[in-house]
């Protein structure tokens, strides 16, 4: 049975509900630009009524709860794309930095001059001049200086690759140091969420946790599993646990064979080959891309150097002494590009004559010159091997660029999909605000009418009025 007092309580609860709804709307508007914020909608709920002896009775109030508009599938997709995009972009940045070592410029005589390419051509040209004029001291000095230029080109390129590796190691350490702050924050949020809302969406707490997870994904790829009490368990791509329930497991870094590796999990073990995020991208560049390039250069330096050494040792210098090694090299190809150096003590040590010829014999000089056109490395001439190498470097960087563009596009799409559901639309909030405002006005009007009716009721049957 409806009563006057009941009506008053009803309008009071309507006013409260509308006020709460307006609060929710204002909160949305205030947080429109908060990263990771999920918009809330006001959920109006009718009170429960029961039927007793034919009468409807019970809780007749209206209540409002805020419900976050969140889809965990969309959130996870966004998190994974963040991780992929983080990996592709940091790998690309490392590769582009390395590509600068192989820049192509244009000179007056050559439209495609690279440091090593020009040094190779210069060295072989100097040998051609030598075979035409084997005893001329200026020509011999030119060979020595061209050989030195070649050695410097190899050394400086190897050094450039090594310093990029060092830089990546240092960046990995820096990135890893950010992980612990995020994982401990996520563990704390897990605790709070399991305390306050273990069975339903936890509103802004979940927003914060998801934001932390996204930031973590940008650094390192994580696998996400839901656990008890609306908790989240995070592991690296290699299975090492980062967060489990309310506990976070710290990560650290340690050098292994000169490279910085991640130590994570319980118990902490070295995690090689982590993927995802900027750490995954940097490790990919450091452990795969750069070593491949270095190995090709080492092979070139070693094979070319050995061929020249062998040929020089096969002939005689103009003064009749046997030729010695031109270059000093390590015992195997590994590290040759960085370690190669000139071993001739003077231009006199270049063995231009065959052992059967006199001082101005040209046979060994011709053989040295022919190294430039013989297949000395990988079944190709030195210049063609280097040209192929440049093509491979170009392909690697170009495909990394494409991968990055694709990942960025996917990230934008995932972000759009998530925002379509969860981001605050000012138009919508304005409309809601108007609606709740009118609703409030109507409830207030109901209240004042009920108040008048109550006054009439009180004054029923008397002539004086109470107002």
């Amino acid at each position: 049975m409806a009563t006057m007092m009941g009506l008053m309580y009803l309008s009071e609860s309507a006013l409260n509900a509308d006020q709460e709804a307006i609060n929710i709307t204002s909160n949305n508007v205030a947080n429109q630009n908060t990263p990771g914020y999920t918009r809330e909608v006001a959920n109006f709920q009718d009170g429960d009524t029961v039927s007793l002896n034919g009468y409807q009775t019970g809780d007749e109030t209206v209540s409002v709860s805020a419900q976050s508009q969140r889809d965990s599938v969309l959130e996870q997709m966004l998190q994974q794309q963040t991780s992929s995009s983080g990996q592709t972009s940091s790998r690309l940045a490392a590769l582009q930095s390395v590509e600068n070592l192989f820049g192509i410029s244009s000179t007056s005589s050559n439209a495609s001059s690279t440091t090593i390419g020009s040094a190779l051509s210069g060295f072989f040209s100097s040998l051609t001049s030598l075979s035409a004029n084997p005893t001329d001291s200026a020509t011999r000095e030119d060979v020595v200086s061209a050989a030195q230029t070649l050695v410097s080109a190899f050394n400086s390129t190897a050094q450039g690759l090594n310093s990029e590796t060092t830089e990546l190691n240092s960046q990995i350490t820096t990135a890893a140091s950010q992980i612990n702050g995020l994982t401990s924050s996520i563990a704390q949020l897990n605790e709070q969420i399991s305390q306050y809302s273990p069975n339903q969406d936890a509103g802004t707490l979940e927003d914060q946790r998801q934001e932390d997870i996204d930031q973590l994904s940008a650094i390192i790829g994580v696998n996400q599993l839901t656990s008890n009490g609306n908790g989240v368990m995070l592991t690296t791509s290699t299975g090492a646990v980062l967060v489990s329930g309310t506990t976070s497991y710290n990560v650290s870094t340690t050098p292994v064979d000169g490279n910085t590796q991640l130590v994570a999990g319980d118990p902490p073990t070295v995690q090689a080959d982590v993927t995802g995020g900027s750490i995954g991208g940097m490790m990919q560049a450091r452990d795969q891309d750069i070593p491949t390039m270095m190995s090709s250069l080492d092979q070139l330096a070693y094979s070319l150097g050995t061929a020249v050494n062998t040929q020089n040792e096969a002939g005689d210098t103009p003064s009749g002494t046997a030729g010695t090694a031109f270059f000093s090299l390590p015992s195997s190809a590994s590290g040759s590009a960085g370690a190669i150096s000139l071993s001739l003590s003077s231009a006199d040590d270049i063995a231009t004559a065959a052992t059967t010829e006199g001082s101005s014999g040209t046979t060994n000089a011709l053989a040295l010159e022919n190294i430039g056109t013989s297949a000395v490395v990988g079944g190709q001439t030195a210049t063609n091997y280097f040209a192929d190498f440049i093509g491979q470097v170009g392909d690697t960087v170009s495909s990394a660029t494409t991968a990055n563009t694709t990942a960025t596009t996917s990230l934008t799409q995932a972000q759009t999909a998530r925002d379509s559901l969860s981001a605050v639309s000012l138009d919508e909030e304005a409309q809601n605000l108007t609606q709740y405002q009118r609703s409030y006005e109507a409830a207030a009007k109901v209240f004042s009418i009920v108040n008048e009716l109550l006054a009439d009721t009180i004054n029923l049957g008397t002539e004086t009025t109470v107002s």
Binding site: S113, S125, L366, N384, A387, V393, S398, A430
Partner: protein, 300 residues
């Protein structure tokens, strides 16, 4: 269906990539190179570098060949002079053996032959840029010396019997010199030794019994020298023609290389222009989109 209210944030990504594109195109226009790093066009970069190796090889050969040609021309000129001198020696010897000259004339013939011999030795010791041309591969020391204290005089050759070589870009190995021992003191046809003998033959005023045999040997020597000169001449023409070919090839390869990596100016200019239009349009969209929402229109 609800749309993404923050879509204009995604537009800034497009704006970034348009700006990046504009930078790349401008750089290509200013440097003239469409390929300045391997990833710009890996295939073109690789091809252009391989070509630059070949270009450099052709260029080196052309330059080396010009020095070699000069040396061979000097040798050739010396041999031509030698031919003239030997021909003169032959006619002097013929006259001496003819029986028409008296004793003092024959002695004077001997002296003339001696001076021709000295001239031949000097030609045989020709040098070019500090190296002796007819010394084989021992070109730091003077190859020929004659000791006139004996009669006939003795000749010493201190060079060796090797040749110097060069190799064309096509792989053909060509001798660029002939050792003096094969020209001037060839076995059985030695010019200098024969001249020494002829000088001794006519020195006494009466031709000796070996004079006519020596004359025959001298003629053989001249034939041998002419043969060697013509071999040298052939080598020289081969070098000249391969050098010309290398030079032409180099020009063709350079043109090919340039077209591989250089900017197509008109294409880039067009792209740049359309990029700028696109950029301007996007800026207009970004500035007008997201400007107004329902709040602006409420309570007016």
């Amino acid at each position: 269906m609800r749309v993404d209210p923050l879509y204009s944030l995604g537009l800034s990504g497009s704006l970034d990539s348009l700006t990046q594109n504009e930078n790349t195109l401008t750089e290509q226009l200013s440097s003239g190179l469409a390929v300045s790093s391997p990833s710009d066009n890996p295939l073109a970069a690789s091809g252009a570098i391989a070509l630059s190796g070949q270009i450099s090889q052709d260029d080196a050969y052309t330059q080396a060949a010009s020095g070699i040609e000069s040396q061979m021309n000097v040798a050739n000129a010396a041999l031509s002079s030698a031919v003239t001198q030997i021909t003169k020696a032959i006619s002097l010897a013929v006259e001496g053996l003819g029986g028409t000259l008296d004793s003092s004339d024959i002695t004077s013939t001997s002296q003339q032959l001696a001076s021709i011999r000295d001239e031949i030795v000097s030609l045989a010791n020709t040098s070019y840029a500090g190296s002796y041309v007819f010394a084989g591969t021992a070109s730091n020391t003077q190859p020929f010396s004659v000791d006139t204290s004996t009669s006939p005089a003795t000749t010493t050759y201190s060079g060796d019997n090797n040749s110097q070589y060069t190799e064309t870009p096509g792989g053909q190995k060509i001798a660029t010199s002939v050792p003096g021992s094969a020209i001037f003191t060839a076995s059985g046809a030695s010019i200098i030794d024969t001249l020494n003998n002829l000088v001794a033959d006519f020195a006494s005023g009466t031709p000796s019994s070996s004079a006519s045999a020596d004359l025959a040997t001298l003629k053989d020597g001249l034939t041998n020298l002419s043969t060697q000169q013509s071999t040298l001449g052939n080598s020289l023409s081969v070098i000249e023609s391969t050098s010309t070919y290398a030079s032409t090839n180099e020009a063709a390869l350079t043109a090919a290389q340039t077209s591989m990596v250089s900017t197509d100016t008109s294409k880039v200019a067009t792209e740049l222009s359309s990029n700028e239009t696109q950029q301007q349009a996007l800026l207009d969209v970004i500035s007008s989109a997201g400007k107004y929402n329902l709040f602006s229109y409420m309570n007016q």
